[in-house]
């Protein structure tokens, strides 16, 4: 293992700024989050960044490392270092508040925009809904429900970059899981929300979202499912009314 210090370029500023280089001592099993933490504690206390669990469960520490969106707590420096250099920037496609912290409001607002929330018709007085775990819809839903809203897919998508109103892979993935939830009563509104240029039809199957998702979720599959669903409703009519 190299004894030379890491040369770490870190984005300082907001929408405008510059990369400042810091020298960080190498340690075995060092993660990129360890590097950022070292810089903030020992070299420059004015550095702003987000983290919480530091064990790969919460998704708060997502940043752009050497051009690729990753969870910094789960990225070993040894795996991605280029010679002795690292480049750390905030997540792409989101406004930067300061340094490595982005404003994630548009990301979460798009979840709402895609009707990415559940609404049922039962109350506490009815019996439990009985959903067969092996049913086709449940299997499809289960493939996508582990999303924790870290924003890596959103930050990796070129369509998000070029179309400001595109809902994005996370929101559409959530819409797909709910489309497969037989208890949900907003299916028609959801289909209307995710069809069109701001929705699933803007996706070009570039696959960056699926490639980068740290939880192995495949938004490309979910969006393909949505395309088929909406096409069926548009051509044959949806079972809950006219699209």
């Amino acid at each position: 293992m190299s004894k030379v210090d890491l040369k770490v370029k870190v984005w300082r500023g907001a929408q405008e700024g510059e990369f400042i280089e810091y020298l960080v001592p190498r340690n075995p099993h060092q993660t990129v989050l360890d590097v950022v933490t070292y810089i903030q504690r020992k070299l420059d206390p004015t550095l702003s960044y987000r983290f919480a669990c530091r064990v790969g469960m919460c998704g708060s520490c997502a940043m752009t490392v050497n051009g690729v969106a990753r969870w910094t707590c789960r990225t070993h420096v040894s795996k991605i270092v280029k010679g002795d250099s690292l480049e750390i920037a905030p997540l792409n496609n989101l406004p930067v508040i300061k340094d490595l912290a982005t404003d994630m409001r548009e990301f979460f607002n798009k979840w709402k925009g895609a009707v990415g929330f559940f609404k049922g018709s039962q109350t506490r007085h009815e019996d439990f809904a009985k959903i067969e775990p092996s049913s086709k819809e449940r299997q499809l839903a289960n493939a996508g429900i582990e999303c924790i809203g870290c924003g890596v897919c959103y930050a990796s998508c070129e369509v998000v970059e070029s179309r400001p109103n595109y809902l994005g892979p996370a929101a559409l993935n959530r819409a797909w899981t709910l489309s497969n939830d037989v208890r949900d009563i907003q299916q028609l509104e959801r289909q209307r929300a995710i069809a069109g240029d701001a929705g699933c039809h803007a996706c070009h199957t570039q696959g960056s979202c699926t490639e980068r998702c740290p939880k192995g979720i495949e938004p490309t599959a979910s969006i393909a499912g949505l395309k088929k669903l909406v096409a069926r409703s548009a051509v044959r009519g949806a079972k809950w009314g006219k699209l």
Binding site: W11, N92, E158, G207, S208, A221
Partner: protein, 119 residues
């Protein structure tokens, strides 16, 4: 001071994105070429001799190169398109990277076959 960084080639350096670029680029060029191709073939309305005269225009090497390039573009767009159809309509089995590799091979084979068979 400079504006914040944007997605660059490091973010897009993966096979599925490369397949997207090839598919889009080949589709665009083919769409532009298609009317010319039909115009050429519609000269057959002038009968065999009229048709032959227009075909002789294509004897220039630039046309021959263009024909070879178009066969390759067609092969790329066909195999890339079939991959999209499988992803969208077939059983989900990931981004079909094996298919991308076969597509590249298929396009190379078509290019070579054209060179071998054309005189």
């Amino acid at each position: 001071m400079r504006p914040k960084p944007k997605l660059d080639c490091r973010a897009k350096s993966h096979l599925s994105y490369f397949a997207y670029v090839c598919h889009r680029f080949s589709g665009l060029l083919l769409a532009c070429f298609l009317p010319l191709h039909f115009l050429m073939l519609s000269q057959s309305l002038r009968g065999a001799s009229g048709f032959e005269r227009s075909l002789q225009l294509t004897d220039f090497w630039v046309f021959k190169f263009g024909e070879w390039a178009l066969v390759i573009l067609l092969a790329i767009h066909l195999s890339g398109g079939v991959r999209i159809l499988i992803i969208e309509f077939g059983a989900w089995r990931g981004l079909r990277k094996g298919w991308i590799e076969i597509s590249i091979l298929f396009s190379i084979v078509c290019g070579l076959l054209f060179l071998y068979l054309a005189n």
